[in-house]
């Protein structure tokens, strides 16, 4: 506990008072949404509507409306699922892992990143549910006593996935809510509106800022962070088991769990940076979400991007080193076959472009980093696409080789998931404090007692 933070950069730039912090963070909640907000919301709602139409069309007609067919039986659905789960991982990493590592700078971005985790997991959860074309049958995945006397197959990676993703969502939501309780207390005591007061009072559960409560609260927060850390690693590990436990060349690889986790952090941080660039500008939070935050996240993007690049190389090395002709074929086919375009988009976006972050100037220039992180987002989507589709489209029997082309419904569903994500993000910025007020106040200058003088 007695770590000297004096060498660190101040978390908050400038000297703003605690009251200013509250006012600044609560501002979007106190004011009526402006025109820009409604324009943004109408764009995201349009995207969401495209997704809703695509999904309804799917439910009426079955999965035949998608482009997938033998031999590519898994395509956009699993690609989008893995992509969105990965996006979610940055939130937990920021809120839990950096908390355990006592990185104080996380406080400015933790709340927002956690919210993005929850929204991303919601987007991800859509795809396994709709990919059967009969979403109400997803209930069969839960082990419940039924008239057939059957249980789900607990040894199947797909069932592990159900447990991992639902646990991850529940724990993230609880962790997020626990963080929000004191802020609901602040909002309850600030607001002049009667209705808002009722809502905030209900959600604050009667929080009183009592130190006798803070004591247990801090303990609980640490315990939750301690559980969320292995959980976040387990979730993408288990997602990678969906592939790695099978015997398809290109999937059956032991490097998958760490490779997927690194990729998840990589893509998640890229998404967090993308969104935060706009949020800090629109809501005047430059003093709380500083350029230092963005730079630190860019460093993590550089590190994890290089880890992902190492994994790409290692896959090729093992394909050669194993001496397995099928494995070798898959990887040569991946880089030089019909899907070479997707592979090289992936490599350039994920490995080559992020190398620009070695330059401090680029790490701290907003337009440059925005371009790079958008490339990373694109590249990480393509990574999942490459893993899924290129491994499947040419299997052991050349007679059954095929080429997957997405239909308009496939693309509409993907667009819809982005619509859902950004709609939720926009609604979040207007309904809840995007920065943890009580946490950021605790790291402000002069917020902690000096413990000088006196006999304690």
């Amino acid at each position: 506990m007695n770590i000297d933070y004096s060498q660190e950069l101040p978390v908050i730039e400038g000297r703003i008072t605690l009251a200013d912090i509250d006012r600044l963070i609560a501002k979007p909640l106190d004011e009526k949404p402006d025109r820009k907000f409604f324009i943004a919301l109408s764009i995201t709602l349009t995207l969401l509507l495209i997704g809703a139409i695509s999904v309804t069309y799917l439910f009426f007609n079955g999965t035949g409306v998608w482009g997938l067919n033998q031999p590519v039986g898994w395509a956009f659905d699993i690609t989008n699922f893995v992509f969105w789960v990965g996006i979610g991982h940055a939130g937990t990493l920021i809120s839990a892992v950096l908390y355990l590592l006592r990185q104080k700078w996380r406080t400015g971005i933790a709340r927002f990143a956690e919210a993005m985790t929850i929204f991303a997991v919601m987007c991800a959860g859509i795809f396994p549910i709709i990919h059967t074309g009969r979403p109400w049958l997803a209930g069969y995945l839960t082990p419940y006593p039924n008239q057939h006397g059957l249980w789900v197959n607990f040894t199947s990676p797909l069932v592990w996935d159900v447990f991992a993703v639902s646990t991850y969502f529940t724990v993230s939501l609880v962790f997020w809510y626990v963080g929000l309780i004191p802020d609901f207390g602040v909002l309850r005591d600030r607001t002049a509106s009667k209705l808002k007061k009722v809502i905030y009072s209900v959600f604050s559960l009667g929080w009183r800022n009592s130190h006798r409560n803070w004591q247990h609260y801090e303990k609980a927060y640490m315990l939750l962070a301690g559980f969320a850390t292995p959980l976040v690693l387990s979730v993408h590990t288990i997602v990678s088991f969906d592939f790695a436990v099978s015997i398809i060349p290109g999937w059956h690889t032991t490097i998958f769990p760490p490779y997927f986790v690194a990729g998840a952090i990589f893509s998640g941080f890229a998404m967090v940076v993308t969104v935060l660039i706009f949020v800090r500008k629109v809501f005047d939070l430059q003093e709380i979400i500083t350029l230092n935050h963005l730079e630190k996240m860019n460093k993590i993007i550089l590190v994890t991007g290089s880890m992902v690049g190492y994994a790409y190389g290692m896959e090729f090395f093992i394909a050669w080193y194993s001496g397995n002709p099928f494995e070798q074929f898959v990887f040569i086919n991946r880089a030089f076959g019909p899907y070479a375009w997707a592979y090289w988009i992936m490599v350039s976006c994920n490995v080559i472009i992020p190398q620009l972050f070695w330059f401090k100037k680029i790490r701290r220039t907003i337009p440059a980093m925005l371009v790079i992180v958008i490339f990373v987002n694109v590249g990480m989507w393509f990574e999942r696409f490459v893993i899924t589709v290129t491994s499947l489209h040419r299997d052991f029997l050349p007679s059954s080789w095929g080429y997957f082309i997405p239909t308009i419904v496939d693309i509409g569903t993907l667009i819809g998931s982005f619509g859902l994500f950004f709609t939720l993000v926009l609604l979040f910025t207007k309904t809840l404090p995007v920065v943890a007020m009580s946490e950021i106040k605790a790291v402000a200058e002069g917020a902690q007692p000096s413990h000088h003088g006196g006999d304690h």
Binding site: V178, H211, S234, H456
Partner: protein, 387 residues
């Protein structure tokens, strides 16, 4: 709206250092029922207030371990005892494959228990009726002030002394907090009753629509309506408009090989019985005989129909003529029919007909055995009986 009953006396301070000093003083004077309120947790306040370390971790530990044990035992029971099934060549108790779910359930149990335990057990939440709520004091400490509150039910509480103490500590603001008047809500208020009725109507209506209409509508009808012709539906393709088609001429059903003397009065060369009269064959023959033959021929083939004269009685199967027939002749009658007896070729498969014939032979033997044969049979059966 507040009563005269005093809850406690509060004091506000501007800086955390002042509060730490005040809390130390309050604790030193021996007050037990006091609390400090800060907008965020103050480092070192635990030791100033001499609080014992939080025991929340024990809840986490015990529920985490219970979750692990529950998940593992449940999977063991489901996969090894309740419905054992070999999957992917793994043993029934496939421990490595149970690890992911065990881990997830452990985390889920531990997390939920920690949070629910903290909120319900330690904080006694939800409690929005606490006297401190909605006071200027609470509004200040949730913003940027630091407060201490000494409660009136403390043993050494004395209003004047506490105020003097706070003044001595240079508190910025001192105020008394009273218990709020208890609000009594009348549940028979028309508004509330209307709300209940509306909720009831809405729930029952939604349930009715879901169970009686929605689940029969596309796409919730499990693909009940598909673009294909069912057996009983009208076909626009065939000229006769029938969806159900007759098989092509000359189609042979499985196990129903056509009989070559069909329609003749007698077989040209009677077939011989391909089956051996084993127990199984005789039992099958008995079963089929009792189902298809006995209604007219009688349970033992005596020609004593159970139809009580509503149908002409068939001849006995024990006549010299039938006993003298070869198996192939009886087979011919079963397939072709005779007099009023129709063909039984669609009811009995080839093997079943031969089995029935074996059973008829057994009946004939039983009914018409010579005394010598009975004696022989008795000898054989009695040889198994104890001497």
């Amino acid at each position: 709206m507040s009563t005269n009953k005093l809850f406690g006396i509060t004091a506000l301070f501007n800086t955390p250092d002042e509060l730490v000093h005040a809390a130390a003083k309050v604790n030193e004077l021996g007050y037990k029922n006091y609390d400090v309120h800060t907008p965020y947790p103050l480092h070192g306040m635990d030791s100033v207030m001499k609080l014992k370390p939080s025991k929340l971790g024990y809840i986490t530990l015990s529920f985490g371990l219970s979750g692990a044990a529950f998940a593992l035992l449940f999977m063991y029971w489901a996969m090894s005892l309740d419905y054992p099934m070999i999957i992917g060549g793994k043993p029934f108790f496939a421990l490595p494959a149970f690890v992911p779910i065990t881990f997830e359930v452990t985390v889920l149990f531990a997390t939920l228990a920690t949070v629910i335990g903290m909120l319900a057990f330690y904080f006694k939440f939800p409690s929005n009726s606490h006297p401190l709520h909605d006071t200027p004091y609470m509004k200040a400490v949730s913003g940027d002030k630091y407060g201490v509150c000494i409660e009136a039910d403390d043993k050494i509480f004395d209003s004047e002394k506490v105020k003097a103490l706070f003044n001595e500590l240079h508190a910025k603001e001192i105020s008394e907090v009273f218990y709020p008047a208890i609000e009594v809500a009348n549940i028979f208020e028309p508004k509330f009753i209307t709300l209940l009725v509306l909720i009831g109507l809405l729930t029952s209506g939604a349930t009715y629509v879901t169970l009686n209409k929605l689940i029969y509508m596309t796409p919730f009808d499990w693909m009940m309506n598909q673009n294909k012709v069912n057996a009983q539906s009208k076909s626009l393709f065939y000229a006769d408009g029938f969806g159900m088609r007759k098989p092509v001429d000359g189609t042979v059903a499985r196990n129903f090989i056509p009989y070559e003397y069909k329609g003749l009065a007698a077989p040209v060369v009677p077939l011989s019985n391909p089956l051996t009269p084993t127990n199984e064959v005789l039992n099958l023959g008995k079963k089929r005989f009792l189902t298809f033959c006995s209604p007219c021929h009688g349970n033992f083939g005596d020609g004593d129909s159970r139809l009580r004269g509503q149908f002409p009685n068939p001849p006995s199967l024990h006549s010299e003529k039938v006993r003298g027939w070869l198996d192939g002749n009886i087979y011919h009658v079963i397939v072709n029919g005779q007099n009023v007896m129709p063909s039984y070729s669609s009811q009995l498969s080839r093997d079943e007909r031969w089995a029935v014939i074996h059973y008829i032979r057994a009946l004939q033997k039983a009914k018409n055995a010579s005394p010598l044969e009975i004696l022989e049979a008795k000898k054989e059966t009695s040889s198994n009986v104890a001497p």
